[in-house]
């Protein structure tokens, strides 16, 4: 890949809304990414390999649990800092951001919110530094959009739990030291269990053949009569709301991240349109190119405003799940559209690995599906404004109609 010249578009002077520390955190993440990841990402992506050597660096720039308090080894930053770090990571590669999202929001967040003091002390500092890698097992082969139907289960055996079942599509799984696994107890209630690497009957084989998010490692989690110590159950919360609250935090990070991918595509397309000469003029002089660029920056600017406001709401503890769904859905959609348009501006060069646009485009196909598909988020907004859930084909429950 050619030198990483990225600078972020800021049409509405959004930087004025950031504190000096926000900017320092963002610029640090960007400098680190440019130095350590941009030069190698294409190679790892092509070989479908995860660059493990960058894990400690991600810890150093605060990308693992940015909002985890300092007493547990985290940096104790606000939600906007978290968003900015995710934006810088995904600006480079969605897989990089995925690794960090999973660790932060799907592993550290539930341990911090629902874990015992011993669990927090044992896992959070090591996860924050990158000494430990974690994963989150919710999706199963037969339960994706409908995780509540999961069949992975555990039985109380007196001095331990016995865990059985399988999870699929689990980011970071093959490299994880600890997995936050969601499973049903004998009464059918969902609980989180911390399953540690090396426990008997537990394996995490890698899934191959992904044509998207190739620089992120994905695997299965297989539980065959795994004896899980009782102290590994997350005591603080049970029910489907527990994993969903983690998804809120991750989806919030994705909203920032996807916008980063969009900004990177726009930045490259704008630069290219000023350099590439056809018919004697830079292609940016053609109205059809300008239309593409103008629409891209308009969508980016709208998304920046939406995302920043969501950050403020998150900081105040007021963001609803439905508000987060809207931002995740919108930002991934505009990022995909911008990637496609940007790729066209680059003509044939747009399909090569000299530029990151095609990689972003392929990556975003995962991002539009995981953490709630595009359509599921639409149904969430629909339910939020009408009060009527429409996720199943059963007669809708009208009791909460607005």
């Amino acid at each position: 890949m050619s030198t990483d010249l990225y600078t972020h578009p800021d049409y509405y002077n959004m930087d004025d809304l950031l504190s000096d520390e926000h900017k320092l955190i963002r610029d640090t993440a960007r400098a680190w990414v440019k130095q350590n990841v941009s030069p190698i990402i294409e190679d790892y992506y092509e070989r479908a390999d995860f660059p493990k050597q960058i894990i400690p660096g991600l810890g150093e720039i605060g990308a693992f649990g940015p909002y985890i308090p300092t007493e547990y080894g985290g940096p104790g930053l606000d939600q906007i800092s978290y968003g900015l770090i995710m934006q810088e990571l995904e600006r480079c590669d969605s897989g990089l951001r995925s690794t960090s999202s999973v660790q932060s929001s799907l592993v550290m967040y539930p341990i911090w919110k629902y874990g015992s003091e011993e669990q927090k002390q044992k896992f959070l500092p090591k996860l924050a530094s990158g000494e430990f890698l974690g994963c989150f097992g919710l999706t199963e082969p037969d339960h994706g959009s409908n995780p509540g139907g999961m069949i992975t289960n555990f039985k109380d055996m007196g001095d331990h739990y016995l865990l059985n079942g399988a999870k699929m599509w689990i980011s970071n799984a093959p490299l994880s030291d600890v997995a936050v696994v969601w499973a049903k107890n004998e009464e059918g209630r969902i609980h989180g269990l911390l399953v540690e690497k090396g426990m008997e009957g537990f394996s995490a084989p890698e899934m191959h053949g992904k044509l998207s998010l190739r620089a992120s490692i994905t695997g299965e989690l297989i539980f065959n009569d795994v004896k899980v110590p009782k102290e590994n159950l997350l005591p603080g919360r049970s029910g489907l709301g527990a994993p969903l609250s983690c998804l809120d935090s991750a989806r919030y990070g994705i909203a920032w991240g996807a916008l980063g991918a969009a900004m990177d595509c726009y930045d490259q397309a704008l630069r290219y349109s000023k350099e590439r000469i056809q018919f004697g003029v830079p292609i940016g002089a053609f109205q059809l190119t300008q239309k593409k660029l103008a629409e891209m920056i308009t969508e980016i600017t709208k998304a920046q405003l939406l995302t920043f406001r969501l950050g403020q709401l998150r900081n105040d503890g007021k963001a609803t799940s439905a508000q987060i769904s809207m931002a995740k859905r919108n930002n991934v959609e505009i990022a995909l559209n911008i990637a496609r348009e940007a790729r066209q501006i680059l003509g044939g060069m747009g399909i090569t690995n000299e530029y990151s646009i095609m990689r972003h485009m392929a990556n975003l196909e995962s991002v539009v599906t995981y953490e709630g598909t595009h359509d599921i988020h639409l149904l969430i907004t629909g339910m939020d404004v009408t009060g009527i859930p429409s996720f199943t084909r059963e007669a809708p429950d009208l009791s909460k109609m607005k």
Binding site: L5, E21, K23, L24, T28, Q35, G62
Partner: protein, 246 residues
């Protein structure tokens, strides 16, 4: 060992450069500012490395208004122990050097480090002036520095070779590429920078000795002429008659 590192704020290299006030003032609107790379990557990092191996402290000094504080915080995040800001618009090099020298003299630093130049004005004057005002030796354009007790050994590049200089503290140096490697702050550093002391000091009276009359942008690059490889005659002709370089 007490190190004092001079840190200044410069426009990011990708900034659009233009001027206001009859071309006598740089237009700061919409410009992103960074720490002058020679100050940050070479002077500051080498001071930190030496402090880490020999003990002591690293103080940064900046002559500038409160809007310079973000870049000062960055220097603290990279690892400086404390910072001083002389609360004044930096006038000419003499004014700035005078402020730095007054502070350095009063606080007995062993080594004062500057970058070899700032990437905006490229004046390369501060280090020499500070040394003169302090009455200490000055080593310019140093690419390497080691300290043994109170004796420093420095290298500087010269045409076709390297010059090795020995000097006793206190002294002033300007740091060039090679002195150290860029350090990206880590989150622990950024968090620690929140509470590190940043002292604001009012300037000592001093007049500028020079003033900026006006700035001009370099002429626009003219179009490139491509000459066919087989047509050496035309190339010679163009170089001789049009470019007038041969």
């Amino acid at each position: 060992m007490k190190f004092l590192v001079c840190i200044s704020k410069v426009p990011d290299t990708t900034s659009k450069i233009d001027f206001t006030d009859n071309n006598s003032k740089f237009n700061e609107a919409g410009v992103q500012f960074i720490v002058n790379p020679y100050d940050e990557w070479y002077a500051l990092v080498r001071a930190l490395e030496l402090k880490e191996s020999l003990g002591g402290s690293v103080t940064t000094i900046t002559v500038g208004p409160a809007t310079d504080e973000p870049i000062i915080r960055k220097a603290l995040a990279i690892g400086a122990d404390n910072a001083v800001r002389i609360n004044a618009e930096p006038g000419d090099a003499y004014f700035t050097a005078h402020q730095i020298a007054e502070y350095a003299k009063a606080n007995a630093f062993d080594v004062v480090l500057t970058g070899k130049e700032t990437i905006n004005y490229n004046g390369s004057q501060i280090g020499g002036m500070v040394a003169e005002l302090m009455g200490t030796p000055y080593i310019s354009l140093a690419t390497k520095m080691d300290l043994n007790g109170n004796t420093a050994t420095l290298e500087k590049e010269m045409v076709g070779g390297v010059e090795i200089v020995e000097v006793n503290t206190p002294f002033v140096l300007s740091a060039a590429k090679g002195m150290a490697e860029q350090r990206i702050p880590n989150m622990r550093g950024i968090m620690a920078a929140r509470t590190k002391p940043l002292e604001v000091i009012e300037p000592v009276p001093c007049d500028d000795l020079t003033s900026f009359v006006s700035f001009e942008l370099p002429p626009e690059k003219s179009e490139v002429k491509l000459v066919d490889a087989d047509n050496i005659g035309e190339l010679v002709n163009l170089l001789h008659n049009e470019a007038k370089v041969i």
